[in-house]
Amino acid sequence: MSTRHRRRPKASTAKSHATTQTKPHALAFEPITGVTIGSNEEGAIAHLPWLRMAVKLLEDNPEELKQSWERLIGIAEMGEKALDVIVNLILCRKDFEGLGELLDMALARSLATLEHMGLWVPEKSPA
């Protein structure tokens, strides 16, 4: 792990583990159960096509993007129609935001526990 990752976790994520000046080693967080992660295949199917679609849209200049959207709107046979594309891009983004929060929390709890165990010392933030 690089040193830049060894800083104290962000203050916002410290809510999940009580670290105070008076009780520097108190660890208190509740288990969060019921987080369901689908199978690898489900995860890939749910997200990768929309990531690839987003990448494709970003390769267009404004005129090309206009044409891409005209095509999307005009293809009546598509299972996914124009607005469904945007919905899925938005849902994919929300999913990733949720997963990011999960990872943040896991990191904060792990680092707090490592600190508690004396296995990790956060660097002092520069003034």
């Binding site: 200049n61 990191l107 526990t113």
Partner: protein, 133 residues
């Protein structure tokens, strides 16, 4: 997509404020070539594993997490595990920016095509596509 999504798109902003119609019309953007190098399987292996590890971590009490770390530390895989969590988090942040940019650009272009909250593009629930523009 429901009309609600179209009514509340992420707003294009200029200097941190929602752009006016004229400012939105004037917004230009350049293509961003992105090479997604991973296959479905590589993405699964690279990132879903870390997501599962994160779900395992948050499901533990402090004592159980401490116990798990005690067992993991001597194996030498602790740094690797934390690096995986950090790498996946950074990857997801990049993908969120990518998706957001694609969504904002799409809304801009849909507006230029004559669509608006009052005249949204066809929804799959609307039945056959007919001249909405």
């Amino acid at each position: 997509m429901s009309v609600q999504h179209f009514r509340r798109p992420m707003l294009a902003t200029v200097r941190g404020k929602p752009a006016t119609q004229a400012e939105r019309d004037a917004i230009a953007f350049k293509p961003i070539p992105i090479n997604l190098q991973w296959s479905d399987e590589e993405w699964e292996r690279g990132h879903l594993v870390s997501v599962r590890v994160a779900a395992e971590i948050v499901a533990r009490t402090p004592a159980r997490l401490q116990d798990a770390i005690s067992k993991l530390a001597p194996t030498g895989h602790l740094h690797e595990t934390l690096d995986g969590l950090i790498g996946t988090k950074e990857h997801l942040e990049s993908m969120i920016r990518l998706l957001e940019t694609a969504i904002v650009r799409s809304f801009l272009v849909l507006e230029r095509l004559g669509y608006s909250p009052d005249n949204p593009p066809p929804d799959s629930r609307d039945g056959p596509i007919g001249g909405a523009a």
